[in-house]
């Protein structure tokens, strides 16, 4: 049943991936001819030199070798100083005899490339191309340096005790941020290129001993199956490779903290990193990956569990408070203590709307304020808070448009939703809240239970890269028991079994 569904999908995807990767072998291979002038002209044409100012070529004669050479590079993507010092200077100013160009160049990475297309591809990413007369290949020298931010504090996922570094837009810096936490030879980084025109690179990082083969292959085939022209960054990539694109619930985690990514790698997950995105993707993701925050493990045992408890309470409060209010006051008034009931009835005497409309109005305005708060330019930021509080709270109650109890309910549920750290899950919960509200308005407690069961059924049948969404709670896998609450670090002995890692125990391998 579920298995068959999964298998079908996988077959479909890998078919697709085969299709797209088959293309490249069809084109005719263009190789470098030994003729310098011909190649240079070819390149000039390709890059529309000299009208394209962002393409430079430097012609010179290699000293002691008495050959002419041309260096191509794209100035905006390269490190000019490196080119000067490591490539041009040694070649021009060298005193000794050069037989092998590669030994004369002081750059850290250099290789020979015979196909023009591939060379052009590398040139586009910021490497320099050295053509030497008479040689039928070009040398690709690594000189890439693009402008960008430096490593800063994380903005969305803040912690109290954890490291305060976050990813930036450069993939190699990101990889270095992750790698410096795991210094092992099993740490593997694979590169894939996607996007027909933009040629973006995707880096897949995993621990070769720990990651599961199945998930890895699944990730790779899905990425390979993308057939768009340009996939600029991770946020776009996610939407291409997630399991259910129209689903309300996120199945791939995006994190901006390298320490979180590193801990996932150690548990056997697969990380995807791209240039131009200060995020990393974690696959497979279960519900618990979204629910946990990095801070939980950095705090002490009791503090961490306390935070988790608060978080799960906040989740329930956000989801259920508005709908419970409607269900109880409209359908099940006997549940309220008499005083509370009379207080609500008294407050609602003057209000013109039915309770559910009132609640919907306030919820909508609250959500609007929230969205505005995210987009508002920093100078006028605080005014939003004041305006919001004034308009909604005070004036509304004074004008008897809304009753004070509803304001409390909405404020409570809105504030609690901030306790969920992950952005995607946050949206999920906010939207589900409305669904619950409508269900409660229709059928009271029965409606709420219906909605809840529907959600539960949906969650248990959801799979993220082949792993059930509620694992390890539902299909019972051996794991570290780190679901709603966590254990003492010394007691977390097992890796999550659902990632099908090869080494289940976290304790040191005794040899």
């Amino acid at each position: 049943m579920n298995n068959s569904f999964f298998k079908k999908r996988k077959a479909f995807v890998s078919e697709m991936s085969q299709e797209s990767t088959g293309n490249t072998s069809d084109q005719s291979l263009k190789l470098f001819s030994g003729d310098l002038v011909q190649d240079v002209n070819h390149f000039k044409q390709l890059y529309s030199f000299p009208s394209n100012v962002d393409f430079m070529l430097r012609e010179f004669t290699i000293n002691k070798m008495e050959r002419r050479a041309v260096l191509f590079y794209i100035p905006s993507l390269t490190d000019a100083k490196l080119i000067d010092d490591a490539i041009i200077k040694p070649l021009i100013m060298n005193d000794r005899e050069i037989t092998d160009v590669t030994s004369a160049i002081g750059a850290s990475a250099i290789r020979a490339e015979a196909e023009i297309d591939k060379a052009v591809h590398e040139l586009n990413t910021g490497d320099s191309l050295l053509l030497v007369e008479g040689q039928r290949h070009a040398y690709i020298i690594k000189t890439a340096l693009a402008a960008g931010r430096s490593v800063e504090k994380p903005q969305n996922e803040t912690t109290l005790f954890g490291p305060k570094e976050s990813f930036i837009e450069k993939a190699d810096v990101n990889i270095s941020l992750i790698r410096k936490k795991i210094r092992s030879e099993d740490f593997t980084v694979e590169k894939m290129t996607i996007g027909g025109r933009s040629n973006n690179e995707v880096f897949i990082i995993y621990n070769k001993e720990l990651a599961s083969e199945r998930v890895l292959n699944e990730v790779k085939s899905r990425i390979g199956a993308i057939s768009k022209d340009a996939v600029q960054n991770i946020s776009l990539l996610v939407q291409h490779i997630e399991d259910r694109k129209r689903s309300l619930v996120p199945t791939v985690l995006q994190t901006e903290r390298p320490d979180r990514a590193a801990s996932f790698i150690e548990d056997g997950y697969v990380i995807v990193v791209m240039n131009n995105s200060p995020f990393a993707l974690v696959a497979p993701s279960t519900f618990w990956s979204f629910y946990h925050s990095g801070d939980d493990h950095y705090l002490r045992f009791i503090n961490g569990n306390f935070t988790r408890l608060l978080r799960i309470l906040a989740m329930f409060i956000t989801l259920f408070t508005p709908s419970a209010y409607i269900a109880i006051t409209n359908y099940h008034m006997e549940m309220l203590p008499t005083d509370l009931l009379l207080a609500i009835a008294g407050a609602r005497e003057m209000v013109p709307f039915p309770a559910i409309l009132e609640l919907l109005l306030l919820e909508l305005s609250f959500e609007l304020i929230r969205e505005a708060g995210v987009r508002v330019p920093v100078p006028i930021g605080p005014t939003i808070g004041i305006v919001g509080a004034l308009i909604l709270g005070q004036a509304g109650v004074e004008a008897n448009v809304v009753s004070p109890i509803v304001v409390i309910v909405v404020a409570l549920s809105g504030l609690s939703s901030y306790a969920i750290g992950d952005v995607n899950l946050n949206y999920t919960i906010r939207i589900t809240r409305f669904a619950f509200l409508i269900a409660a308005g229709l059928m009271g407690i029965f409606g709420m239970v219906l909605c809840f069961m529907a959600g539960l059924i949906y969650l248990t049948s959801l799979k993220s890269f082949g792993v059930p969404y509620l694992a390890p709670l539902s299909p019972k896998y051996k794991s570290s028991g780190d679901t709603v609450f966590r254990k003492l670090l010394t007691n977390e002995r097992l890796r999550p079994g659902f990632t099908k890692t090869k080494d289940l125990t976290k304790d040191t391998v005794s040899e």
């Binding site: 409209n330 359908y331 008034m333 008499t338 005083d339 009379l342 207080a343 609500i344 009835a345 008294g346």
Partner: protein, 419 residues
């Protein structure tokens, strides 16, 4: 195709949402009844037509809104009475002049007049009224001396607290002091259907009778000499046998009943007894029951023998006679004996009364008879109620412990003070 079906469903559910559903009623669209009163219909012969007078007291939510001051005249509008075939149909009939849907969900009390309680129809009405989903089993029953409607009307709680709070506090407090019994509908049904004990309901009155001064708990409702406060009083109990009221018990008797009954809890019992060493004065004590009674029923060929052990803890609170009880062990012993005697006497008096007058016991002792039988048939043919109890041989043993003497254990020497 799927899209269209989906949007169609969505539209339908939107319609449902806006028109409201079948059960949805806003909070302010209902009127919450706090007390229900039942009377014999005036001017109608109950033999010929089934009818009762129903009184509803509504709670007024306006009084809860801040800034609105309650005026005395407002409360009158909250009490309505009408004549109807029974309780459930009265609900809809009242809608001819009450604008909102009447809801019983927060009803706390059912007030019945004495006359109605003495008729057979009361039991019938109550059992069938119970089919309505909104009447709950923990509503209390109060029997009043006069008309229930007058009782509700005259009920003006002190400090202007809302009526529902009044009843809630009243019932809780009264059951704590033991002056009235616990009388929920659940107990009523359990006992009446079990057909083996008496059911005691709270007894109230709004008339003042001038009967003179007695011991504080000898009163029945209406006799408490007081001025000011609420004209309505609740003391004592009405005795029901098989669904019909057959008599009354005074406050003290009710207290003793509650002490002898293992299923009720008393917290705060203050009482006074004659001081054994100085007959002019009375000692005030605080009684607590911390252990359960032991009731042993022995089956014999003739009437059964019942041995009751009745443990109490007492704290001596005030000794106006200034006799030194705390330090003098001899005096303590005398006091203990005297108190035990008095308590035993009271208990036996009450038991005799129930045996002769009511012919059944209100102490729920049938629970102790039950383990002696192995099937229900045997138990019922043995008929504890009518055949056995009135002739039973009952011995009461007191087990009194004086646990303390209050804050001040020694009174001042009055001779030294007055000189």
């Amino acid at each position: 195709m799927k899209r269209k079906a989906g949007s169609f469903l969505f539209l339908i559910s939107l319609i449902l949402l806006l028109t409201g559903c079948w059960d949805k009623k806003e909070v302010e669209e209902r009127s919450y009844v706090v007390a229900i009163g039942l009377d014999l219909p005036s001017g109608l012969d109950i033999e010929k037509e089934q009818a009762i007078d129903v009184t509803f007291q509504f709670s007024n939510p306006k009084l809860n809104v801040k800034g609105v001051s309650p005026s005395g005249g407002e409360e009158m509008k909250d009490v309505v009475s009408l004549t109807a075939p029974d309780l459930v149909s009265a609900r809809n009939m009242a809608n001819s002049f009450v604008t909102r849907e009447i809801s019983f969900t927060h009803n706390k009390v059912l007030i019945v007049s004495e006359e109605l309680a003495k008729t057979e129809i009361f039991y019938r009405l109550l059992t069938t009224a119970f089919k309505d989903r909104e009447i709950r089993r923990e509503t209390s029953i109060i029997v009043t001396e006069g008309m229930a409607s007058k009782f509700i009307e005259k009920n003006k709680p002190e400090m202007m607290i809302r009526p529902h709070r009044y009843y809630q506090f009243l019932i809780d407090r009264a059951t704590e002091t033991g002056l009235v019994p616990e009388s929920t509908i659940n107990r009523f049904f359990a006992i009446t259907d079990g057909d083996a004990d008496l059911f005691l309901a709270m007894y109230g009155s709004y008339n003042k009778q001038k009967d003179g001064f007695q011991d504080e708990d000898q009163y029945i409702a209406g006799q408490v000499p007081k001025k000011g406060g609420n004209p309505v009083q609740l003391i004592g109990s009405a005795v029901f046998k098989e669904g019909k009221m057959i008599g009354k018990l005074s406050g003290e008797e009710t207290r003793i009943t509650r002490l002898l009954d293992n299923t009720s809890n008393i917290r705060d019992l203050f009482s006074s007894f004659q001081d054994p060493l100085d007959k002019e004065y009375k000692i005030a004590v605080r009684i607590k029951k911390t252990r359960k009674n032991k009731v042993e029923v022995k089956l014999r060929n003739g009437p059964p023998e019942i041995n009751v052990t009745y443990p109490l803890d007492m704290k001596i609170l005030s000794v106006p006679s200034m006799v030194n009880y705390a330090e003098d062990i001899e005096n303590q012993k005398k006091l203990k004996l005297a108190l035990e005697e008095k308590l035993k006497e009271n208990a036996e008096k009450l038991i005799k009364k129930t045996q002769k007058e009511f012919k059944t016991e209100p102490f729920y002792w049938s629970l102790y008879v039950r383990p002696l039988f192995s099937t229900v048939k045997e138990y019922e043919t043995w008929d504890w109620n009518n055949k056995r109890y009135p002739y039973a041989d009952i011995h009461v043993t007191m087990d009194l412990e004086i646990t303390g003497f209050g804050k001040q254990f020694r009174e001042s020497d009055i001779e030294k003070v007055i000189d």
